[in-house]
Amino acid sequence: MDKLWIIIKREYLSRVTRKTFIIATILTPLAFVAFFVIVGFIFSYQSDDVKTIAVLDEGNILEGALKDQKNLYFKFETRDLETLRSKFEDTDYDAILQVPKVDNLMSKEFTVFYYSKGQPTLDIDIAIRDRVRDALREYKIKSLNINREQLDAINTSITLEPEPIEKGGQDASKLTSAIAAGAGMLMGFIMYMAVFIYGSMVMRSVMEEKTNRIVEVMVSSVKPFYMMLGKIIGVGAVGLTQVLIWAILIPLMLTIVQAVFGFDAQTSMPAGQVATQINPDDTQAMVALAMSEIGNINWWLILPLCILYFLGGYFLYSSLFAAIGASIGDDMGEAQALTIPITIPVVLAIYIMMQASQAPNSSLAVFSSIFPLFSPIVMPARLAFPIPAWQIVVSILLLLATSVFFVWLSGRIYRVGILLYGQKPTFKKFAKWVFYRD
């Protein structure tokens, strides 16, 4: 066990102290934040193309009021269209907007005319149509003598409020499912990344040791199984370190960026544009509700379970990566061919996970969160929902048993493969190696 510890320490320290690790660990959140800053900047960017538009309000619908917008100015004209068009070059106008009389108040269609050189750009098109629509609506309400309150009451917003059947059961709010689904997806993706990034890190490192022939020296001191286990644990610890640093650095940097640039990266995203149409009070209430919902999720149960699933999934898959690394030399092509069967269940699990976060109690979700090749990715996505305890227990036990079995199995393949050179590895050979005597 002393030796296992020595190996773990070397595997961990030799990576964590490497310049490339430090750079990648710091640069990744920086790149992430820079991406948000740039995207935020692009979305908050507004046209600096100033336009002045002459408005001919022939039916007096607009009542002299058309709100100016940044870079877009409206001027009401009393001269007629023909005069303006003939003298267009002498005016400062960039375009003429002709709003004709409303012939039929009951018509759902209305056309205004825009005279300019060239086409109106999309932002102008949207701005003008929005303004004219609002003005026409007011005009129609007045002209048709409609009661405004009644009209407003026609559009009703519906809330589906979930309530438990049993009295005193856990009362969920309308946001519970959305937040649970979000948290679940996040965990699923972290698992997916962990398996791929750190699993293939294990594989490459084993390949390097074999090509270097350092194994020949190592195996005369320690059993190959301990070499493999030490590497898996060491690299896993590196992964946890990196994820932890990111978990601290990314929110920290985002906060700093918000303070410095003065805009909220999130509301400037396209989704934010939708959100601005909601009443700001509603938004605040939603945030407060969301925060209390996040607080309501039983993190003390979910986080340890997630760590268990992380460990189970990581050991299960990275040991397979280690076995493959040991069986090949430095041929990345062969490595890719052999890793495909491993990546298929992981990719499948990701799709099932996305489905499961929408319908956490479908039979697909239940089966996949118990099946050990999928459960590390699918189950975390369901944990934030209320699910029967037996499913968690069965799933965890199966996962632990399977990962122990896979570590053992991979150890058997590793021990033979690491000392063999010039053999083309196949799954048939792997099966034979498992039963080799030492």
């Binding site: 030796k3 020595i6 270097n212 020949e216 020296v217 195996v219 005369s220």
Partner: protein
């Protein structure tokens, strides 16, 4: 004779190939022992079993009279033919790591590393990365890694390949020193002149079997073909004495083959009687190289028949 290592009827089979077939031999304490054999003879399979990397299928291996167990790797130092070090690690860290895996404490490892770096006058390498070193330099580091933990049994697989004559000599002296300090050395090589020079005892493995074993001097005596070389001070035109056949008549030298029953004394006395101007008289002992080739060929013929 006190043995550090004894193999008793050791066999190892891989899939359908018998790599080692009932091999027995023993390695005397504090000696240099040659493990010889053509490529693919089963030397590596044998070494892997001795170093506990693999287990025997049948038979026994005793180290100091005890069957091999999990504490024994710490008493063995093995330098494989294919050298390997972590390229990105510093020499000092690397040696510490390997020494710790052999059961040394951090302090013991440090002391041993400084002792050996000092001995090879390469103390300033401590903080150098391995891939900054030349191949020959890396080999020195590899050798230090093999002997750091003061092993009782040292197994060196082709230790001189890649070394220039000066460093090869340096290494030879160190091996001799280790032997004087009580270590037993197994030396696996194809370079027969080195075996002749350094080894006290050898075992010759062919096709997984032990085909020749024993003291180097005795083996050469056993394989001698009663040939003699006589160097003359000037050209000698005399007759070859009865009971001898002239194999080669060089400018000022004869190589003769003694027929059964004829002794070297008889040859000398008849030559002296003929007033031959003898400058030197030598028995030609076969080189280990010749013995190696002869033994392997004979063995292969027997195996093929």
């Amino acid at each position: 004779m006190d043995s550090i290592l004894t193999l008793e009827e050791v066999s190892k089979t891989y899939e359908n190939k018998i790599a080692v077939d009932q091999v027995s031999f023993s390695v005397p304490k504090a000696g240099i022992f040659g493990l010889l054999g053509p490529n693919g003879a089963g030397k590596t399979s044998l070494i892997r079993m001795i170093t506990t990397i693999t287990n025997v299928d049948s038979g026994r291996i005793l180290l100091n009279g005890e069957p091999l167990n999990s504490r024994h790797p710490e008493a063995i130092g093995y330098m494989p033919e294919e050298r390997g070090l972590y390229k990105k690690m510093k020499v000092g860290e690397q040696l510490t790591y390997l020494a710790r895996l052999k059961g040394l404490s951090a302090q013991q490892a440090k002391d041993a590393i400084y002792y050996w770096l000092d001995r090879f006058e390469i103390k300033d390498w401590y903080d150098k990365k391995v891939d900054e070193l030349s191949k020959g330099m890396q080999q020195k580091v590899q050798f230090i890694a093999t002997v750091l933990h003061n092993p009782k049994l040292i197994i060196l697989d082709e230790p001189f390949t890649g070394l220039d004559p000066i460093n090869a000599n340096l290494l030879k002296d160190e091996i001799e020193n280790l032997r004087i300090n009580g270590a037993s050395i197994i030396f696996s090589t194809h370079r027969m002149e080195q075996v002749e020079e350094m080894c006290d005892n050898i075992v010759l493995i062919n096709q997984g079997r032990n085909i020749l074993e024993g003291n180097v001097t005795k083996i050469r005596q056993e394989y001698k073909q009663n040939r003699f070389q006589i160097d003359f001070a000037q050209a000698f035109q005399g007759q070859v004495p009865a009971g001898f056949t002239l194999l080669e008549n060089k400018k000022n030298a004869w190589i003769v083959q003694a027929q059964p029953g004829s002794s070297s004394n008889a040859l000398l006395s008849s030559l002296l009687a003929a007033n031959a101007p003898i400058a030197a008289f030598n028995e030609i002992l076969p080189t280990l190289n010749d013995i190696f080739i002869q033994a392997v060929e004979e063995n292969n013929e027997v195996a093929a028949a």
